[in-house]
């Protein structure tokens, strides 16, 4: 019995230990470095640049030079300026869209898993409906209806459609955790359901939640880029996806203006790739615990 105890419960003081292991995991470090590096570009560069992304210079279709680091577009826009603003917008859409999806997914998952019964049946049905909805089709229809599309409305639409898998996983884990005796003990201590969910259930799935945030963030960025690329991006601002869309629309490939579409393409790949690498690394760090649950 005592050996049983030590086997079962090396989960303590572990969060600090895990943090240590996380920062020693090369995948986590590399992935985070890529993502944070690009985030810095998106945050700082727009402040330092004098040009506006829509400003047109005399030099049109110019190749990269000291003056225009990433060259200029067919219309004479500075590609680096657009690139920096585009990164900023991508992170914004990712954070907002991923955040909205996370909040909805958590709320639905915890409510369904904790309450059970008919509430669960209903929420489960809702989750499945949203899950099988052809999200892309709905997004296209919605996007064409919105006259003035900004990154915020795009993020909201993305968030509202990408929560179901988080809700499902959170529900499943809550189902097993809510039957632990310590949940009953918290009830016997006069604690209410929201307190119990936040204080007893959530900390036990913290690693899982962290990983979902990362995946939702990356997924939202990718989704936004795809919408932009098919011409449903923001009407009034620049994004990485809309840069690619513009470059394709004006035959940048044929004209040999590779500097127009390569930087945004690489940035999207790097952000999403970096996030996935981080996640794989975190998975390695957390996995014993995930298996345990």
């Amino acid at each position: 019995m005592t050996t049983d105890a030590t086997l079962k419960s090396d989960s303590v003081g572990e969060s600090r230990e895990r943090l240590y292991f996380a920062f020693r995991n090369p995948k986590v470090v590399i992935g985070l470095a890529i993502v944070l590096g690009l985030l810095l570009v998106g945050l700082i560069a727009p402040l330092l640049l004098s040009a506006e992304p829509t400003q047109q210079f005399d030099a049109k279709s110019a190749s990269p030079s000291g003056e225009h680091w990433f060259g200029t577009t067919y219309f004479g826009n500075d590609v680096f300026t657009q690139f920096a603003y585009g990164i900023r917008s991508s992170f914004m859409v990712g954070a907002l869209g991923g955040g909205i999806a996370f909040v909805i997914g958590l709320t639905v998952g915890f409510t369904a898993g904790y309450r059970g019964g008919l509430v669960d049946e209903f929420l489960n049905m809702l989750t499945n409906v949203v899950l099988v909805l052809p999200a892309l089709v709905v997004l296209i229809v919605l996007s064409t209806y919105l006259e003035n599309r900004g990154p915020v409305s795009q993020a909201i639409i993305i968030g509202v459609f990408s929560w179901p898998w988080v809700a499902r996983a959170v529900r499943a884990q809550t189902f097993t955790l809510r039957n632990r005796d310590y949940v009953d003990l918290a009830k016997l201590s006069g604690k209410r359901a929201p307190q119990i969910i936040v204080r007893e259930v959530m900390p036990n799935m913290a690693s899982y939640l962290l990983m979902s945030v990362i995946l939702l963030f990356g997924g939202a960025i990718l989704f936004a880029a795809m919408l932009d690329f098919i011409g449903l991006g923001p009407t009034d601002s620049i994004s990485l996806g809309s840069m690619m869309q513009q470059s394709m629309a004006w035959s940048a490939l044929h004209l040999g203006l590779w500097w127009w579409f390569v930087p945004p393409g690489l940035a999207i790949t790097a952000i999403v790739g970096g996030l996935y690498i981080t996640n794989v690394g975190l998975d390695e760090v957390f996995n014993p615990k995930l298996r345990e649950m």
């Binding site: 019995m1 105890a5 079962k8 419960s9 989960s11 303590v12 005796d181 310590y182 918290a186 036990n204």
Partner: protein, 295 residues
């Protein structure tokens, strides 16, 4: 005084609650202050369900539970808080009763947050130490530790200490010693004995007939969710009337007999039937002794 009157519990199972599983059928009993009532019976007979209903962790499908004459199922959220001042529980698995990522004494702290929010630090500390000492724990040895750094017996006693921080009248103890080794067992058992002397009513759920015999003056034997026999421990164990009780008693291995000496032949028992039918009524077979008719 805790009273259960014709209590039923049906779980909804299947999709959209389409099926029902009746786990407790028409159970009635009372526990007076200073009394230990044991509930024994096979696995799945509904013992834990009865305990959880008393603790209001699950709802009662039919029937009433009263504490000192007041119906507890009618109390709202507020009333429930007050109810837990008087009625507390300790569960079977000490390791699952503690959230593994927090220190063990957080279970005591939660009681302070809800019930003693205005008590000062030092006053609370003194109260905690007194309560730990009363269950035979050294405060210095158990405070500030994580659950895995403590033994099952220590954890289980800390849960009892937690219950004693409140002015409880009733303790629901669901197989609290089945996961402890023999010597720790007897310590916890003796602690329950002391608490009983101090006027606590204990609902003692157990698999172990000899434990029930040791600690309680009255016993309930359950099968298929219903009570098949009840009464004074000496009467029920000395002269079991229901065939199921006789089987249960005969199946306890005796210290001085060997398997080869006399093999035990179980009596034929009625199979599990329609659980929504009322169970066979209890009839008085002796002073302080009731048994259901075996059909």
């Amino acid at each position: 005084m805790l009273e259960l009157e014709n209590v039923w519990k049906s779980y909804r199972v299947g999709s959209l609650g389409s099926k029902r599983l009746t786990a407790v059928r028409d159970v009635s009993f009372t526990i007076a202050p200073g009394e230990v009532l044991s509930v024994v019976g096979e696995s799945g007979s509904g013992k834990t369900t009865v305990g959880k209903m008393v603790l209001q962790l699950i709802s009662v499908t039919r029937g009433t539970i009263r504490l000192d004459g007041r119906d507890i199922t009618a109390a709202g959220k507020r009333g429930l808080r007050e109810y837990y001042r008087k009625v507390q529980g300790v569960f079977q698995d000490p390791f699952s009763s503690y959230n593994p990522i927090f220190k063990a004494d957080r279970v005591l702290e939660m009681v302070r947050q809800t019930y003693f929010p205005r008590v000062g630090r030092s006053e609370w500390q003194a109260k905690v130490e007194e309560s730990l000492q009363s269950v035979g724990l050294d405060p210095g040895a158990v405070l500030g530790k994580y659950p895995h750094q403590l033994s099952g017996g220590q954890l289980q006693r800390m849960l009892i200490a937690r219950a004693l921080l409140l002015d409880i009248e009733v303790l629901v103890a669901d197989e609290i010693i089945s996961m402890l080794d023999a010597s720790t067992r007897i310590d916890v058992l003796n602690l329950l004995g002391e608490l009983k002397e101090r006027g606590l009513a204990v609902l003692f759920v157990t698999h172990d007939l000899s434990l029930a015999n040791y600690i309680s003056e009255r016993v309930i034997i359950m099968r298929h969710g219903a009570v098949v026999e009840t009464g004074a421990t000496a009467k029920v164990f000395g002269d079991p009337r229901h065939p199921y009780s006789r089987n249960l008693l005969a199946s306890v291995p005796q210290l001085h007999t060997k398997w080869a000496d006399n093999q035990f032949h179980a009596e034929e028992l009625e199979p599990d039937g329609d659980r929504d039918r009322p169970p066979a009524p209890l009839t008085k077979v002796d002073e302080n002794h009731w048994a259901a008719a075996a059909g």
